[in-house]
Symmetry: C2
Subunit: 153 residues, 2 copies
Amino acid sequence: MTVTLDPTDWLILAELQRDGRVPFTELGRRVSLSASAVTERVRRLEAEGVITGYRADVDLAKAGFAVLAVVRLKYPGSRHEPLHRLLGERSEILECLRTTGDDCYTLKVAATSMPHLERLVDELAGFGSTTTSIVYSQTLPYRGPGLRNATPS
Amino acid sequence: MTVTLDPTDWLILAELQRDGRVPFTELGRRVSLSASAVTERVRRLEAEGVITGYRADVDLAKAGFAVLAVVRLKYPGSRHEPLHRLLGERSEILECLRTTGDDCYTLKVAATSMPHLERLVDELAGFGSTTTSIVYSQTLPYRGPGLRNATPS
DNA sequence: GGTTTGGCCGGTAATTCGCCGGTATATTCG
DNA sequence: CGAATATACCGGCGAATTACCGGCCAAACC
């Protein structure tokens, strides 16, 4: 399950999380390795599932989604398929974490306006009671989930 | 501030969020455009700040971070610099949203173990009262923040 | 001590990138 | 209304990068 990673692997991961499109030749330069060696390592990380993919980060506000919100959902039932179906349909739901505690789900949603957010929350409220917080600002903007520059301590 | 995007731009954004390393020639094929035209559009999206970068997605569990948690932080003071400094130092803090409501900050943190998480929460508790929930599972895994396939409605 | 294994290097062919001018359509302005 | 400009697209070219290959070296293993 867990993959053993040496310090060079962590360097590679940090670089690729900072710039997922850096050429292998430049990446090799940064981690003091040849292009072919670094390619081999990246391919191995991909094959082992440590790197699951590469994504472009989008500035949601610039793209027209002015409102970002955290919605906590207290979901009384045990049938989760309808909620999962909604997640697949509503691309405004950016993230969905199922957690311990009183609020079973923590969602991050993007909306173009307050009425838009209201509709989204209403849809979610069909599943259970919701607690919605508007996001003022997001620190570590658009780093996405991941690690930046450290090994597990 | 807001950039106007036509349907082709949305297609490009969706593709790049799904696979940020797709070659421009293949990307052009998928959105029915020539490689040079699609390159021009992507460069424009980058220059306008709609695309803020490209990141590799890492499977945290495979990388040794077995525990994912949501920590809500009630921060009584108004001096936010110390917290922001901590965010920059502790790369286990994956995401930090400042929100309305009783809990000023909502953080997503990764830890290698429960003792590790305990230490992180203790550090955060130095700023205010915390509410921690362990993440069972993450739906929409590794799509990262962003949009998938829809235009703002 | 010989063999095997794993990781790295360098070279080469194929692909892709970055940049160029040229063209067609839409827009603006005289 | 017609001409000039602007915008977006296309194709092609050289440079850079990628993918793939065999060979090398050191550590591990028998």
